[in-house]
Every structure is written in structure tokens, then in C-alpha cells.
């Protein structure tokens, strides 16, 4: 079953076309890699699919719900870790996650929140103020927030930026866990091709607001490394 | 001869008196009412100035204003009426021949002591301003409220709010 269905999505900002008739789909249960060079339209796509921004035209269905007409229904089952994420720095780790757990009706118990804090590698930091966190620690907290409602579809935009190798591994393990044990679909936008190789089963490459390559990663890798695929695709014209 | 000197002296005296009062009232005379007041600090009073045009022609564009001077021994000084009265000067467009104009000057008595008030009229046709007689004003000091009533609140409330904040901050730190 298709978890994400995008048809002819168009979006312009101040005369610049960010998305130029985007078409793609993501199946339920995929760990979907969404790749492209800077300015290709990755973040714009995620912002439209999460309901932060509206498209100029086209359609986008999340689990059969139209994000433009039923954003409330969509937000119950998705969550996202955006590229630029701000935090309420006056809160502690626990307070921050508790606040967001209230906003999603599936309220997490105290123990569940502590477990979530542990799972992102912030053990023992539940009572620390966020303003004392390093960039990497904030990144982990953002991922914890994105998992607060056990989303069926999780959007991640550069989730391992700023993390040390252990941090990256923790995030990888967390995402694999989420996908395999909870059946969540993961939509991963990243420049780190290592992450894509390790996690994703399907990828789509976008350039100049259009899809340039799409398909099963394992099949693509028979023809070359992921770096080759990426660099070749971003030189080609759109499909 | 003596009779002639007496008649001529009387005649010229009459002219002089008339002239003196007419420079206070060549065309215009001014009077102030009431002529004396005794009141308390904080009271509101109103002076009424009656301006009479004694001439056969109308007078135009007259300016009339009230003045107040402190005559308390040791404190003699003219008063700035800014806080006493909102109405200081009145411009009168015209007074018809042999007509009168009544101007009102409400006043709030904001300080104790002895004062004199008088109304002055300025007419560009005359070479001297015309003033009324002085009205004597005696203002008694009145003690109103006990200011110590406000101190507990004035000091206590900011201290209380500060205390509440420190308590909350301490509780947060402990938690």
C-alpha cells in the first residue's frame, strides 16, 4: 500500500520554481531515501508533505488522506525532524518531550518518556536545561520529539548532522528498530550517502525540482556505487 | 478771583479724576467678583470678571486675563497659574457699544496663604492695560489623608512579588 503519493507537485518562491511537477510514491514500510544536491527541492517537498507549506498545484496523499484538505488527520500519524529545528531552551529534556506528548493525543507515561530519552542517547539528562545542550545533543532531542507519537510515517531531514559516530549509529539503530519492529515508514532526506546505503531500501533523486532517478537501491547498486549513481543522476536531465 | 480759581481747580480736578479712572476706563472698565474670599486648600472657586464698554463704538479683539500674587509675608511672589486654572486668557471678539462681557475664571486652590487676584484687559486702542480692583483671597491649609496608610502597600507589595518569584525559582532549582 502506498503511504505517500505525490502527483504533479508544483511550488514557486518569488519567481523561482522549487518543485516542477514532482511525481513519486513511497510504499508503506519503506525506508525511503530522498536525495539531491543543495537547492534541488528536498526540504520544500518535506515541508509540503508535512503541511508546513502549501503547494501551488498538484496533489499529495499520506495514507490516503489529502494533506491539503485534511492536514489534521495526516498530522496524527506523521512526525518530522526538520533540518532547522529550534527548541524551547528554557525547558528541560523531560519537560520538552512531555509538552509535545500532550499535543499528540497519545500521551506517553513518565517511564515511556524516560525510555525515549535513553533510546536517543541522552541518558541522565532528563533534568538538564536544553540551553546547556551541544548541537549534537539537541539533534538527538529533536529526533526523540519526532518519535513522541510513534508515527507511522516519519520525515527526517539531515537527522545525523552534527552527530559523532556513536550518535549516528544510535540514530541508525533507532530508525531500523522503528521500521522493523513498529512498521513505520521512514522518509529520509540526507547528503550522507553512507546513511542512505546503510538504511534505505528505495531511493529517489531530485534535481531542479524534478525526479531524475527512482528505484530500488539494491538494484541500482548493481550498476555502480551510490556515489556514482548520485553524481551521474544529478548531471542528467529530469525524467 | 478766588471764586474763579476754585471753579477752574474743580474743573481740572474733575478732568484729572475722570482721566485716571478712564485709563482704567477710557472706553473700558473691569470689575472682579467676589471681592474677597476665604476658602480651604483644594476648594474650587470661580472669579467672574465683568468687562464694560463705555464707548459709543464697539471694541474688538480684547484680551482679558487673570493674575494672582502671593502676598503672604515672606513669600511674596506672582503665581504661575498653570496648576491653578486652565483658563488664563480669554479673547473677546467684540463688545457692543455700552455693552458688557462676563468672563469666568474657575480656579482650584492648590496652596495655602494670602493672595490677591485681579483681572486685566488689553485693548490695542488704549495705551495702558486696564485692571480691576484686587480681590483678596485667604486659603487655609487642610490636612487630608494620613500618608502612612500607603507605606505598607507601597513597600510591601513589590517585596511580596519579589519574594514569590524567589520562592518559585528556588523550587524549580530544587526540582
Amino acid at each position: 500500500m502506498m503511504m505517500v503519493q505525490v502527483e504533479n507537485l508544483v511550488k514557486s518562491y518569488d519567481g523561482h520554481t522549487a518543485l516542477d511537477g514532482l511525481n513519486f510514491g513511497v510504499e508503506e514500510g519503506d525506508i525511503f531515501g530522498f536525495l539531491g544536491p543543495n537547492g534541488a527541492g528536498k526540504t520544500t517537498t518535506i515541508r509540503i508533505l508535512t503541511g508546513i507549506t502549501k503547494a501551488d498545484s498538484g496533489s499529495a496523499l499520506i495514507d490516503g488522506h489529502d494533506i491539503f484538505t485534511k492536514p489534521g488527520e495526516v498530522r496524527k500519524i506523521i512526525n518530522a525532524f526538520p533540518e532547522s529545528n529550534g527548541y524551547y531552551e528554557w525547558m528541560t529534556t523531560y519537560e520538552y518531550l512531555e509538552f509535545f506528548s500532550y499535543l499528540y493525543s497519545a500521551k506517553r507515561s513518565k517511564q515511556e518518556i524516560y525510555k525515549l530519552i535513553e533510546s536517543v542517547g541522552l541518558n541522565g539528562m532528563d533534568n538538564l536545561l536544553i540551553r546547556s545542550f551541544s548541537r549534537g545533543m539537541k539533534q538527538r532531542l529533536g529526533i526523540a520529539r519526532a518519535l513522541i507519537n510513534r508515527p507511522r510515517l516519519l520525515f527526517l531531514d539531515e537527522p545525523t548532522n552534527g552527530l559523532d559516530p556513536k550518535g549516528r549509529k544510535d540514530v541508525h539503530d533507532l530508525l531500523m528498530d522503528l521500521n522493523q519492529e513498529q512498521g513505520s515508514t521512514i522518509f529520509l532526506s540526507t547528503h550522507l550517502l553512507d546513511d542512505v546505503e546503510r538504511l534505505c531500501n528505495r531511493i529517489t533523486i531530485i534535481n531542479f525540482g524534478k525526479i531524475v532517478r527512482s528505484g530500488d537501491l539494491a538494484k541500482m547498486e548493481r550498476k555502480g556505487t551510490i556515489e556514482d549513481i548520485f553524481f551521474m543522476s544529478t548531471k542528467e536531465k529530469a525524467l | 478771583m478766588k471764586k474763579l480759581i476754585l471753579v477752574l481747580s474743580t474743573f481740572f480736578l474733575g478732568i484729572a479724576v475722570n482721566y485716571t479712572s478712564a485709563s482704567a476706563a477710557g472706553h473700558i472698565t473691569v470689575s472682579i467678583n467676589p471681592q474677597s474670599i476665604q476658602a480651604n486648600m483644594g476648594d474650587k472657586i470661580t472669579y467672574v470678571g465683568t468687562i464694560t464698554n463705555n464707548a459709543d463704538m464697539a471694541v474688538d479683539n480684547i484680551i482679558s486675563y487673570i493674575s494672582l500674587a502671593n502676598v503672604t509675608l515672606g513669600k511674596e511672589a506672582p503665581m504661575d497659574l498653570e496648576d491653578w486654572s486652565a483658563n488664563k486668557a480669554i479673547k473677546i471678539d467684540t463688545i457692543p457699544p455700552h455693552g458688557t462681557y462676563e468672563g469666568k475664571w474657575p480656579m482650584r486652590l492648590i496652596n495655602s496663604g494670602g493672595y490677591v487676584a485681579y483681572i486685566t484687559v488689553v485693548n490695542k486702542e488704549d495705551i495702558t492695560p486696564i485692571s480691576s480692583a484686587m480681590s483678596y483671597l485667604e486659603i487655609k491649609r487642610v490636612i487630608r489623608l494620613n500618608p502612612n496608610n500607603v507605606l505598607p502597600v507601597a513597600i510591601g507589595e513589590p517585596a511580596l512579588i519579589g519574594g514569590v518569584f524567589m520562592f518559585i525559582a528556588f523550587k524549580r532549582k530544587k526540582g
Binding site: 515541508r47 508535512t50 503541511g51 508546513i52 507549506t53 502549501k54 489534521g72 498530522r75 496524527k76 506523521i78 512526525n79 518530522a80 526538520p82 532547522s84 529545528n85 529550534g86 527548541y87 524551547y88 528554557w90 509538552f99 509535545f100 500532550y102 499535543l103 499528540y104 493525543s105 520529539r145 | 486648600m41 483644594g42 496648576d83 486652565a86 482650584r108 492648590i110 496652596n111 487630608r144 489623608l145 500618608p147 496608610n149 500607603v150 507605606l151 502597600v153 507601597a154 513597600i155 507589595e157 513589590p158 512579588i161 519579589g162 514569590v164 518569584f165 518559585i168 525559582a169
Partner: protein, 249 residues
Amino acid sequence: MKAQYIIQKEIRESILTPKGFLWYVFTSVILSILSYFFLTNNELSLLDQSQMLYMIMNFITVLGVLMGLVLGADVFAGEIERGTLEALFLSPVTKIEIAAGKLGAAMVNWWIIFAISLPYLFIVGKGGQNLLRGILYLGILGTLLSLTFSAFSMGLSARTKSMKNSLIISFFIFLLAGSPVFLSAALRMTWFGKILDLVNPFADAINTFDSVVIDSQGFSFQIERIAIICGYTFLSLWFLRRGASRLEI
């Protein structure tokens, strides 16, 4: 309703903080100085108690409105600038619920200021006429004005997405609206002053305080002015609703 969690968060962020408490201590200190001078200074202590009460009521209203404008300017623009609004928009809370929550917190702020002012109102107006009626009208009209200007400032914050621009415009509106307090009696009698008085909910509020506290006039004299203030309140709420629902980051 999820707006209650937003209210709680806003109260903890803006009110239960050192900065928030500083505002309240500052308010209390100013009121302390004002009431002390009213009751001890030779010239000021000559004012009728009703006039003292009227002046303090005006000051409290000005303060409440000013704080509402400043807090309102931060509501959307500040969160956009700090990057925290996106996480809120990702959650199932609607934009209207977010706006309602933030407006609720602004009202809590006004009620705290009102509560702080009560001892001063009692101490200044004690024994004078119309104290309780004055307090009642201050509570009602202060709430309406605070709601009006807070909602307007928040709507502006949603449209400009810039805290600086939002604050500048809000202050300009505040100066215009507060001009009956700042302008002299003579200026208020000019055509400009009369027009401002007519279209200005702030002027309606202070004229109502004058009518109730100093002139002892009844409710029937206030109906028209209160209706105008309510009209502005609805207009501001509509402005906020529209701005919030159309907000995109």
C-alpha cells in the same frame, strides 16, 4: 482542548520567568510611587479621591495594553525567528488553537496586573466615591482592551513574521490609541483629537472611567462606548484568526 497546553507553556515561558516577574515588580514599584505621591505630595493630594482613582485606573489600563502589545509581537514572529514554530505546526494542534492558547496566556498576564493593582486602588480610592464600581469597570474594560490589543499584535506578528516590524507597528498603534492620555486637554479639543476620541477604543475606556468614577453616571451612559470597545474586540479577534490561519513558515 489542546490550547490549554499552549497556555501552560506560554505562562511558563513568559510569566513564571525572571523577566516576567521583573515586569510585575516594576509595575508594583511604579504603582507604589504613584500612590505614595498622590497621598503625600501637597498639590497631588488635593485631587479628589475619585480623580486619583481615575488616574491610577488609566495608568493600569495603559500598562496592561502595553504588555499585551509587547507579548503579542513575540507570539508568532518570535517563534519563527527562534525556529520553534515548525515543531508546533507539525503537531496535530491547529493554528487557531495555537493562537487561542497564546491569547489565553496574554489574558492571564493582564489579570495578574489587575490583581497587583487592586491593593493600590483600594488604598487610593478608600473612602471616596465609586471605588467598587470603578474596579468592576476596570476589570471588564481592561480585559476587553487587553484582549483587543493583544489579539491585534498577535495578528500583526503572524502577518509580518518579524518581531522588530511587529513591535514598531504595535508601538505606533499604541501611541495613536493612547493619545487621549498623552495629549493635553486643549489638543483633544482640536479636530484631530476629536476624531481620535471617536474611533479610539482606548479613549472610550478612559471616558467611561471618567463617567463612572468622577461623574457617577450609570450603566446606561456607558452602553455606547462599551459597544464600540466590544466591536473593536471582535475585529481584533477576526484579524488574529485570519492571520493565524493563513500563516506559513
